[in-house]
């Protein structure tokens, strides 16, 4: 079989772009590429080399590369990128957002609290494996294989994070958790512009999968589904993507990806590398008037927000920009030149530059008192086929994290009620969940703090 290993990756800018989706270091020169390859080799052993070697090509760049074949897979040197499952917090929250995301909501079928513990221990085991990867155990060929095999015989972590959160309904009478419910966790209530479809809402448990490719997320989901037949029932699922950005030039600030309205989305997000900001905005802190077990967790708000894109595309640019409050090309605020500039609303009290009801101004008025409403957004674009009217069913899989759901998403969305953008949006699903604290080590498991809080309560 032929190989394209000797061709430098710079020959494949389109591929590189796809790979670099979320990585802060976007400039891969040849040496870095080789180093990455060595890491892949070291990490995976000879089998890994074989697998990587078999995938080193890029159909998108096949023009002029006569030896490339139609069926050759796009290449990625990031299939071995992995996140440590263990930590104070779960991954997938302040973790840079990769190209592919998916939220799956489940009904929990566990019959009692013992079975609930079996669910969390099973999830823990599967997530620990999926996030680190490795060879799949082979069984007798007369039996169904243990793994779907869609990533091959050696599972590649591919930058996967799996984030587990619990919904308000898990705290009903079934498992004796009622008194341990996080203070702000409620069943999502429709906002005035919502058209919630019951089959796309709520759930006992949500799992967020994020990785470099949809296939890696789907592999992980199928693994979990196969391992929990009597414990979980899929309620709804939504996948999404983040468009890759061109590599940054030296000294340029990172740019946010565009949503399906064509605007950069995430410009005013708080700095996810600022630990103290994250402690304040995202993570439940000790003494926060929350159950002790919930410390280091975070509220997750998920919204499936359909965008009426045909109508949006028929809207004059100046109107689009005044509705959003940003310049479409650059993402800059109306009074600025670059995306990262902070709008100065104090100088524009009547909304002459940025309308008072512009989306970004309502969402984040940048006042001292609205600092407590900050949230960490982590959305994905979604596209789901076509409506009966022949219009495109697409929009934003909005996901955000906050230490206080009432002060966070609910307060922000309440300010947005009635915004002009609503004419182009229809939230159709989602739910509120509480992301469990992280798994601190091999002795710990996901959900342990919650389950041991119940046990303490019942023995006390």
């Amino acid at each position: 079989m032929h190989s394209m290993e000797s061709i430098p990756p710079s020959a494949f800018p389109a591929c590189k772009q796809a790979d670099d989706t979320n990585m802060s270091d976007s400039e891969h020169n040849n040496a870095e590429f080789s180093a990455q390859r060595r890491r892949v080799l070291l990490g995976m052993g000879v089998a890994g080399a074989a697998l990587a070697g078999s995938a080193l090509s890029c159909p998108a760049m096949a023009a002029g590369q006569a030896q490339a074949q139609v069926t050759e897979a796009p290449s990625s040197d990031k299939t071995q990128d992995r996140h440590d499952f263990h930590g104070k917090h779960q991954t997938g929250i302040v973790t840079p957002r990769p190209a592919a995301g998916m939220i799956v909501s489940f009904d929990v079928l566990a019959s009692d609290s013992e079975e609930l513990e079996r669910l969390f221990r099973t999830l823990n085991k599967r997530i620990a494996f999926l996030m680190s990867g490795g060879a799949v155990k082979q069984v007798d060929e007369k039996l169904p294989p243990l793994d779907s095999g869609i990533l091959g015989p050696v599972v590649t972590p591919d930058n996967l994070t799996i984030t587990v959160a619990v919904g308000e309904s898990l705290f009903d009478e079934r498992y004796g958790l009622a008194s341990l419910k996080p203070k702000h966790l409620i069943r999502m209530v429709g906002f005035p512009n919502d058209a919630l479809q019951p089959e796309l809402c709520h759930g006992d448990l949500s799992i967020q999968f994020c990785s470099n490719t949809p296939d890696t997320n789907i592999h992980a989901l199928r693994d979990i589904v196969k391992n929990t037949p009597d414990l979980l029932l899929v309620r709804w699922k939504q996948e999404g993507t983040v468009p890759a950005q061109a590599p940054l030039k030296a000294g340029e600030p990172a740019q946010s990806a565009r949503n399906f309205l064509g605007f950069r989305d995430g410009s005013a997000n708080p700095d996810s590398n600022d630990g103290s900001a994250m402690d304040r905005i995202v993570w439940v802190q000790p003494g926060a008037n929350e159950p002790a077990w919930a410390v280091a967790g975070s509220y997750q708000a998920v919204r499936i927000i359909r965008n009426l894109v045909e109508r949006w595309d028929r809207t004059p640019l100046q109107e689009q920009q005044s509705i959003i409050g940003r310049v479409k090309t650059t993402g800059a605020p109306m009074d600025g030149q670059t995306e990262t500039q902070v709008p100065d609303y104090a100088k524009d009290p009547e909304g002459k530059l940025t309308k008072l009801d512009a989306h970004i101004r309502l969402a984040n008025p940048r006042t001292a008192e609205t600092q407590r409403n900050l949230i960490l957004r982590r959305p994905f674009n979604y596209s789901n086929g076509v409506s009966k009217n022949g219009q495109l069913e697409m929009g934003l899989l909005f996901i955000c994290y906050q230490a206080d759901l009432a002060q966070g998403f609910i307060a922000v969305q309440t300010r947005l009620n009635g915004e002009p953008l609503e004419e182009y949006l229809k939230p159709i699903g989602g739910g509120y969940f509480f992301t469990l604290p992280g798994v601190t080590g091999d002795q710990d498991f996901i959900g342990r703090s919650l389950l041991s809080a119940v046990k303490q309560k019942t023995t006390a």
Binding site: S3, A50, G53, S54, L109, V154, D230
Partner: protein, 274 residues
């Protein structure tokens, strides 16, 4: 010179033919249960044929009430033996296809059989225009009877039938889309479950020889399903319509059904069948 990925995987033993964990059940041990299963299937088809005659007679006489009453208790015999009936693709399509199997829906000319008749009886509330469909169904089930009589039952199809029946339940019965006009899904649900349980029972000695705990777990989940279905039995031995099934019970059926589907998918392998 570079080794191909396949060669490397082979060298690492990753693509080894895995060790066989289960000794093949001696072919002679399978003769008894397989022939017992054929007896069971034959009896079910005999019932199917005679009840289909009564059902189609009522349809042709224009006796709507009787036709509606006989619809579910007739087709349940088909649901019990679906793994064998499905071996005859052409008949399965003619007898048991659903509206969504046809691009043109109820107007499709090749949409025939139980569900097409169900549509007219329950949705149009008439027997008008069903003569030819009734005759066709009668002819098709008799054809099935003849073909099954002449069939040598392949053991792997028989044992694999338990899993196939559970896949039917998981894919179409929980949602209530099997009998979308009559809402008599619970008859079919019970039929699939009974058919699967029959297979497990017939091979019980062989299964228990391989894995006793497995047999116990399967029994437990069959019992869980039966218990929920029993809540909806009516005095005449039939079932309530599917819309009466509470959400909590629908959900409670999912766990045992999905677990049975997972577990029974290993049954062929456990008995060493290909």
């Amino acid at each position: 010179m570079k080794k191909s990925p396949l060669a490397l995987l082979l060298a690492l033993g990753l693509l080894h033919a895995p060790l066989s964990a289960f000794a093949a059940t001696a072919p002679l041990d399978l003769v008894g249960p397989v022939s017992d299963y054929k007896i069971y299937v034959t009896a079910e088809i005999d019932d199917l044929v005679s009840k289909t005659q009564q059902f189609t007679d009522a349809v042709k006489k224009g006796d709507l009430a009787t036709a509606k009453k006989l619809y579910a208790p007739t087709r349940v015999h088909y649901e019990k033996i679906e793994p064998i009936a499905e071996l005859f693709n052409d008949l399965d399509g003619a007898i048991d296809s659903r509206v969504n199997d046809h691009e043109k829906g109820v107007k499709a000319e090749d949409f025939t059989g139980f569900h097409r008749i169900e549509y007219t009886l329950f949705s149009e509330n008439t027997t008008d225009g069903l003569g030819a469909l009734a005759d066709g169904l009668n002819k098709d089930v008799k054809d099935l009877q003849t073909r099954v009589a002449g069939l040598t039952f392949p053991p792997e199809k028989v044992v694999g039938g338990a899993a196939a029946l559970l896949e039917e339940v998981a894919a179409t019965k929980i949602s209530g889309e099997e009998d979308r006009y009559s809402h008599t899904d619970l008859y079919d649900f019970q039929g699939n479950i009974d058919g699967a349980k029959k297979i497990v029972d017939l091979f019980r000695p062989q299964i228990e020889k391989q894995d006793k705990a497995f047999a116990a777990k399967v029994d437990k989940n069959f019992a869980a399903v039966d218990k929920i279905l029993a809540k909806y039995k009516t005095k005449d031995g039939g079932f309530e319509t599917y819309d009466k099934v509470k959400d909590a019970d629908r959900k409670a059926l999912v766990g045992p059904v999905t677990t049975l589907a997972e577990d029974l998918s290993t049954l062929r392998g456990k008995l060493g069948l290909n």
